[in-house]
């Protein structure tokens, strides 16, 4: 049995969560927070050990100080638990805003993903990794270098996240590789138009409002109301409140009224245990349930620097795309990423976008003199599917289970012949535009 007959490993490293599993499955095996807890004593004592050549005599000293500590780290939930329990480990988030920041911890994160979570031998499997559409070629090279040099993978494909998100819809509905992907992750929000599988690079938009900002906003609202939450885990609680209770409203004023009329129905409660004292505490969750996701549609309630609503950005993005693709793009707007999971998010987005488009059609029709052909109404369709949270991973799983995948991969032989530069470019950017 060789690597071609085994399923490929698909790892989608997001800013907040990493989704990993084997190709051909419907769900990823693990969804863990992208976080590494590193032992601090290592980073300080490791420095001198790295300088001088290790002498044989102080083997035991090194053994206790540095050499063993290179395995003294945890990832995912274990890392969070570890850093809460003791002060010897500090958390490090290797990915910031969709880009890898810390390659040391990233390499370790992958190492644990492969050996301790998926428990596979990297030499046995092809790998599919993902990257955001704005990743620099150097980053891609670096990824290739780590994968081929450290893990000896037989083949690697670095896919672009929005294309995979589109491919995820490919199987569930119809064969459509044209559409706008609205990818709202924890650390980055991108709006990427794709035509026939090729990314229209010049029209990619990204906005500085992400899942983390929703958490921050919920956190801020809770704090301003003076809810009784221990400060050391208040951000974590805000994140969980966001994940469990937040929803999108159709009209804020109506929603405020609803809450005020029947607080017992809409106000939820959160119960937790203080980590230091072990005492129980409760707090109320009120308006933030619908105000959190509202920052995508009315950003001015959150910050003053960026006030363009999501639907306007999407509209601008489509308007800047080639004119013959626009109708198809409006017809297929695909959501992906964990922060689009709020209830009714797609309905709200569709309604707001439709309003803008209809207004424009009406305006252009009113300018016509009688006798001219009227513009046909434009179909706006925001697609939502149940696997939205890991749509990118699922797309990767679908892609990696086809036979063509193995041909598109960069192989180890190629890497050894040409070097890391083979990973520099991705064919989906070299489209017809």
């Amino acid at each position: 049995m060789d690597a071609l007959s085994r399923p490929a490993v698909v790892i989608d490293n997001g800013t907040g969560y990493t989704k990993m599993g084997f190709a051909g499955n419907v769900e990823p095996c693990f969804i863990t927070p992208t976080v590494v807890a590193v032992n601090d004593s290592f980073s300080s004592s490791g420095q001198p050990a790295a300088r001088g050549a290790p002498a044989r005599g102080n083997w035991l000293a090194q053994h206790s100080a540095g050499v063993m500590a290179d395995l003294d780290f945890y990832i995912g939930e274990e890392a969070l638990a570890r850093s809460r329990a003791s002060t010897s480990h500090s958390l490090s988030y290797p990915i910031r805003n969709g880009q890898v920041e810390n390659w040391d911890t990233m390499e370790r994160f992958w190492q644990q993903c492969i050996f301790n979570y998926l428990r596979c031998d990297p030499e046995d499997h092809y790998f599919l990794l993902t990257e955001s559409p704005l990743t620099a070629p150097e980053t891609r090279e670096y990824t290739g270098e780590i994968m081929f040099e450290t893990f000896n993978v037989p083949g690697l494909y670095i896919a672009v996240q929005p294309v995979l998100a589109l491919a995820a819809g490919y199987t569930t509905t119809k064969c459509e590789m044209t559409g706008v992907v609205v990818d709202v992750g924890d650390g980055a929000t991108h709006i990427v138009p794709v035509a026939d599988g090729y990314v229209i690079g010049s029209s990619i938009r990204s906005i500085p409002i992400t899942g983390k900002d929703v958490t921050q906003f919920v956190h801020q609202l809770l704090k301003e109301r003076g809810e009784n939450i221990p400060p050391e885990e208040s951000f974590d609680v805000a994140r969980r409140i966001k994940e469990m209770y937040c929803y999108t409203s159709s009209d804020i004023v109506k929603e405020f009224n609803k809450h005020d009329r029947e607080p017992s129905k809409y106000v939820k409660h959160w119960t937790g245990i203080k980590p230091k004292t072990g005492a129980k505490y409760t707090c109320d969750i009120g308006y933030e349930r619908f105000l959190g996701p509202e920052i995508f549609f009315n950003p001015e309630i959150y910050n003053n620097d960026f006030t363009t609503p999501l639907q306007v950005v999407i509209d601008k993005c489509i308007q800047s795309s080639p004119i013959d693709t626009r109708r198809a793009l409006y017809k297929n707007i695909v959501l992906s990423g964990g922060s689009t999971m709020f209830k009714d998010f797609h309905r709200r987005l569709q309604r707001d976008l439709k309003k803008i488009v209809d207004a424009r059609v009406r305006a252009s029709n009113s300018r016509l003199i009688s006798g001219d052909t009227k513009a046909q109404p434009i179909e706006v369709n925001v697609v939502s599917h149940p696997i939205q949270r890991y749509a990118v991973w699922f797309g990767g799983s679908v892609l990696a289970s086809t036979a063509e995948f193995y041909e598109a991969c960069h192989t180890k032989a190629e890497y050894e012949e040409y070097g890391a530069s083979i990973c520099r470019s991705n064919p989906v950017f070299k489209g017809m535009y």
Binding site: M1, P7, F22, F30, A50, L71, F73, E107, F115, E123
Partner: protein, 323 residues
């Protein structure tokens, strides 16, 4: 996380989710692969949400290892002993797999601790099945007797098409691993890792562990084994296990560690490569820093002027320069 754990994380997660999820169930049908080509196929059907059908495929056996109905010696008995009524073996196994079991989650003990113990045990199915013959031999060692009707040299499946060898005696068992690696860098790293491994054994703190040897040529115990099974590019590792290493609770751990020795070495080779990269990165950073410091003042100034050119574009500067 220096050692690889015996229970499969994924299996355990699915089992625990399912036990806690209550009555309603969804279809699950997924495949996963573990190191050394152990494949799992997990199925839950909507109709029977509390019954899991688990199929396991084992690594391709090398010609010198002896199997019974596609399973290692004593595997069936080991499964029955480990799981009791919870697990029912289906015969024949599913196409392409070596073992299919039906796990009835309603028959789990109600006590949470016991239940978790047995779930972990199910997740370590690999250890139970592949480790069965090894466990049998080591049990005999613990009672200081040679197992009846056992050859002088036993070959057991280690990896696909590779085996490791045991020479059982009344008071000790000698275990020999031919180590093979694909990549040339891995061979070098693994060889030095193993030599260091033997070296580490000599320190005073580790006096009671099994003695361990490494040699580039096959040791004497392997006399008479076919040449195919003996071409190892990273040498041979020999462990001598005494009864004190397999007493009571130590037995399971010893079996697992011996069973996955290659995976352990390979894991650490990869880890040390990662560690070296970390150090290389740090070195490059410090070199760049040194280069930056060595720059003459003129060069630094040039950079500043370059940065300043940005400023010249502003309106205010333009007005200034006009006067």
């Amino acid at each position: 996380m220096i050692l690889l754990q015996s229970p499969s994380r994924f299996l355990l997660q699915i089992l625990q989710d399912r036990v806690l999820s209550g009555e309603k169930g969804i279809d699950i049908d997924c495949h996963t692969v573990e190191f050394d080509d152990v494949r799992y196929h997990i199925q839950f059907s909507m109709r029977n949400p509390k019954v899991m059908v688990l199929s396991v495929a084992l690594p391709l056996p090398p010609p010198e290892a002896i199997l019974y109905d596609g399973l290692p010696l004593g595997a069936i008995e080991a499964i029955k002993a480990a799981y009791g009524p919870v697990v029912q073996i289906l015969d024949p196994p599913k196409d392409g797999f070596d073992l299919t079991m039906k796990i009835n989650l309603t028959k789990l003990p109600l006590d949470e601790e016991q239940r978790n113990a047995i779930l972990t045990q199910i997740a370590s199915i690999r250890e139970v099945v592949l480790g069965a013959p090894l466990k049998l031999l080591l049990k005999h060692l613990a009672s200081k007797a040679v197992a009846p009707n056992v050859d002088k040299l036993v070959a057991l499946v280690h990896r696909p098409n590779e085996s490791f060898f045991l020479a059982p005696q009344a008071d000790k068992v000698t275990i020999v691993y031919p180590m093979r690696f694909q990549d040339s860098i891995d061979i070098v790293l693994a060889t030095s890792f193993l030599q260091e491994f033997v070296e580490a054994r000599r320190t005073a703190a580790l006096n009671n562990v099994p003695s361990c040897m490494w040699s580039p040529a096959p040791p004497l115990e392997l006399k008479g084994v076919s040449a195919d099974a003996l071409n190892a590019n990273a040498g041979f590792v020999t462990f001598v296990v005494y009864p004190r290493h397999v007493e009571g609770k130590k037995l399971d751990r010893t079996v697992w560690n011996l069973l996955t020795f290659h995976a352990y070495v390979s894991y650490h080779v990869k880890c040390s490569e990662g560690f070296m990269h970390t150090r290389m990165r740090r070195r490059v950073e410090s070199l760049i820093q040194a280069l930056d410091q060595a720059k003459s003042d003129a060069e630094k100034l040039k950079k500043l002027v370059h940065g300043g050119s940005f400023k010249r574009l502003s309106l205010k500067n333009e007005v200034d320069s006009r006067f």
